[in-house]
Symmetry: D2
Subunit: 339 residues, 4 copies
């Protein structure tokens, strides 16, 4: 922590600040310039609230100098994390993985039809919601365990893995039974008790970025899972909230290179939620691959006009096939492949 | 729902749109102008995703014409909700209620010292956290049930009620045992399963606004609690996330008159989290009262430099006393009182 | 400037950073801890782009330790600036000044009718636009010089001063002829050549906060005017852009105490643009006064349904009279008066 | 415009609304449902402020049904605008154009060195600032006309065109003398008098998106130029302001497909300002090309550590060459070329 002292602070103020810092357990280095004194407070205290020092008399500004997360950072672990599955699939390596499927599992015919199509076009993981966090209490809330069963069967039938959302700790057990990756939604990104429980699971966790979460807060949430024991965390950019209302969210493509430099964890891009409008999902998927995403997750529906949720952002099957072709060429252009 | 048809849409397109709307169960009224056709789709479908219609050929724009929430709205219930407690205290009436106390319960001496002071200065409800949602997994996470017990005893000793945060459904039972109002934090505002469980509680729930929640989303979350059976909901404005970083959050004072016109639920203002800097809490508290808040919740600590959390935004006891004086005069100026 | 060195930086890297800082003209103080080295770079360089240092090998983080503005800051000038007018009126003192009038000057009858009413109710300054920055090129753009003449005459008739907006440098001459305060709109807050020209004027300048301007950027824009020679600058909070769309803007009441602590310049609050909805202007005006605003600027129209611009946020004359009563009591409650 | 009437509005209210709409010059179509009445108000009034109707008794909501811009819209002009230059270069066609150069022109050696390099690597247009809008009045403000002369000579020497920023109307004449494209900065996007003057120029105008401008506002600003007579407008996405501070701005890649669907104007992407960090410019440039940008503008400097502005986001020459290679392959992958 660096403490900048006010220009007109008295020597007594400065000594008071140093004393307080020492009481908090820091080693203090003083650097006295002609007009300005700066104090370096050394000591590992990731949870220290710097505002505690800001309010002291004579303090002008305070800066934390270490990142508040450790296990999630590149400084701590330089080689990239690769999530490995039993069937040999890897996320975080050279090959880009595609996850696809409907927003919600609706019935057997629907999930089998879509699973078959996306598998044939090159997807490796089936997405689909059985428990749906909906803004309205009156909206379709998902099929529950029945949906998980249908999804598992459809995935197994076509050689896919399963990613699906858990809404709270009570659903982790079910996820471990039916899913290969547990997805945590944007609204739950800072549900800390839940994150701690996920840290005890053996399954990889895909943590979506909160609607207004900074990169640092997102990595802090990953840190909750990592520090509770689960090292298999994927981060998923799905659009942030801005002043713009013409798109559902503003997909932050820059999250891809930024997270790659700050963290060793793989990053997934979700253009369906990121932009929310079907005919713009493909350009955004191309952009995400071009920017370096390790995986793409997209919504596909064979009859989107009748989908129970998010039909308007779901690709038609033939659009998905077209997207796969386009991103394959781009992957190759940047020295990667599609898994 | 109003569907605006594209200027160059064919008659066939228009008939297709009408057909689809009817299939969705709407009654359709067609209004054909010289350049533009507009369709009115009538029918109560609060969960309908209007993007389903936006993607149809020939559709220019779609507008939902009814608010997606019902029980929380002024249209549904015109008289303001007043939350009544056994000791006679009311929130939502003419008198403005003050809730005060430390960010976290730390020990017996701390909570009793603060409770005594705030009670003597006119607070009616003791605030304090026993379970703390912290950004960092390495930060102090609260005393848990022990904290609740201490808070209950301190409150009873000085004639106060208790408001404290529950972080998930598993804590609701404890809250019912020790608290008078269950607080839901900003990060949990859209934790829907939790909201449904709170709907089954007999205790009033104070729902904080999410960091980037619109008024509509906030009221939709209240709707989850109301529609699950609990009519005692208070809304709490605690600052939103904007581009400004000089303050912790941007406290949205306009939420007070806006919520009053959209909803019958009482609104509480939290200037401590709203601005996050001690010496600006009092002006913001004054502003909130002047704008019409039904209650104020503030952090007070007798030794804020040593507080385990949020010391930098906690008022010193003498500042709290001063704040009470100032807001009393303002309350009177606008025809209200301090409870 | 404080430069935090990476934990694993080599001694050669550190020496390279020191060398570069010295080449930039800084005095460098080195503070070597066990795990971390911190460099203090001392020297007054308000225009230095700290990213120049961030990109050097071995640099972890860089913090600027002095505010980039000087003339606008409280550190530079501790006593509050009071703007004094020939008729004895002062802005920035104990008395709160009210500016009122229509959004646009429309015709003689309109401006005289409104001027008379607001003067009788206690306003001291007449507001009104003769040059209107409109989002649409097809919207009413103001009466131009004719509007200025009408406004001047109406103001003189009823003992008021005039505040009105200049849209570019070519209009400064006209303003000096007809106005007492030159208003700069939010969209021009960073039109730097214009600000420099305003710095040469003898008239006070009211600088509105840009739609997404931080406090620092706003004060930097004031610095352009101050450093060009004009010390009479007022800052005006008029709402910022956030994700919320239910209100026209989000009025940032916290700007009032924050600017008061960072700067000596008077601060004006504009609840009409801040919230944009007539029936919520009064509560927001009350909040602004309660938070410590030095002046209030509001839109009033005797026939708002027929106003050429912003009718929906203009108060009816009788509402304005009511607002004056309410804010008078609040001003008194906090030890101030209405001028 | 569609006017939704309140559910409990009286027949008298409804008649009052209809009367007012007719007075405003609209044709009114009434659609009466069981619970709800909807009025369609037909008539071309692009400048109509819908809040004028929102405030009428009995009105629940009002929606504008036509876009407020016309000349900029795809509805008005379906074929894409292609900007053609005398040397045969085109922007808006199949070939993607690259603009490159330093942030500021600093001296002859600098601009010639950089111009030579970028021309050899495939850039077609030289960028560089002679007039610099700087947040601080104490920062380097550009070489002025001398800078324009140097840039013109360097561009001519290496077969490049010139794009450079004009800060106000007084500089348009100089631009017409030395530049091929006049750039309008983000801070001037709503400087309407300036836009009108640009509408009278014969030179193409590149209009950067304001820091917090919606797509609609951006297109409205383009409409100012188009409606004043200049049809050669390019739009440039350069990052928007969000809550995230780890990047300079948040580059909104979705602007590319969204603008393509709303407007016929070519869209340029500026990854240097968009992300503001050198080592992430290339992935963002790749993403922009993959998403369909018509041109890319990037900052390049042969000695960025000594650049007078924006050195931290300028590519080294060899990085620029590498970027050109990467985006060429991506352009090809999506059926385009680099001009």
């Amino acid at each position: 922590m660096v403490v900048v002292v006010e220009q007109n602070a008295s020597e007594k103020d400065i000594e008071g600040i140093i004393k307080t810092l020492q009481d908090f357990g820091f080693d203090v280095h003083r650097s006295t310039g002609v007009n300005q004194t700066v104090l370096g407070a050394i000591g590992v205290k990731p949870d220290f609230d710097t505002r505690q020092v800001e309010v002291l008399p004579g303090v002008a500004r305070v800066y934390r100098i270490t990142e508040p997360y450790k296990l999630a950072s590149r400084t701590f672990k330089q080689e990239k994390t690769v999530i490995k599955f039993k069937n040999g699939l890897e996320i975080g390596g050279k090959a880009i993985v595609v996850m696809a499927g409907p927003c919600s599992v609706e019935n057997e015919n629907q999930i089998f039809t879509i699973a078959k199509h996306v598998a044939e076009s090159g997807a490796k993981i089936l997405r689909g919601g059985a428990f749906k966090p909906r803004t309205s209490p009156y909206a379709f809330q998902g099929l529950g365990e029945e949906g998980l069963k249908l999804m598992r069967r459809a995935a197994d039938e076509f050689g896919l893995l399963v990613v699906t959302e858990a809404m709270d700790s009570t659903q982790i057990g079910l996820m471990e039974q039916y899913a290969d990756i547990i997805q945590i939604g944007a609204r739950n990104m800072q549900n800390y008790n839940f994150l701690k429980e996920l840290g005890k699971s053996k399954k990889p966790v895909m943590l979506k970025r909160g609607l207004s979460a900074t990169f640092e807060e997102w990595l802090m949430s990953a840190e909750y899972i990592l520090s509770s024991g689960n090292k298999q965390v994927l981060l998923c950019e799905r659009g942030i909230r801005t002043f713009e209302t013409a798109t559902r969210n503003t997909m932050d493509i820059s999250a891809i290179p930024v997270i790659h430099s700050k963290s060793h964890l793989p990053i997934v891009a979700d253009p369906s939620h990121g932009i929310g409008i079907r005919d713009k999902v493909i350009p955004m998927a191309r952009a995400a691959v071009a920017a370096g995403a390790d995986a793409i997750i997209v919504e596909v529906h064979h009859d989107p006009d009748r989908a129970k949720s998010d039909g308007a952002q779901s690709l038609f099957p033939e659009q998905f096939t077209e997207m796969m072709k386009q991103i394959s060429v781009i992957a190759e252009a940047i020295g990667r492949t599609i898994a």
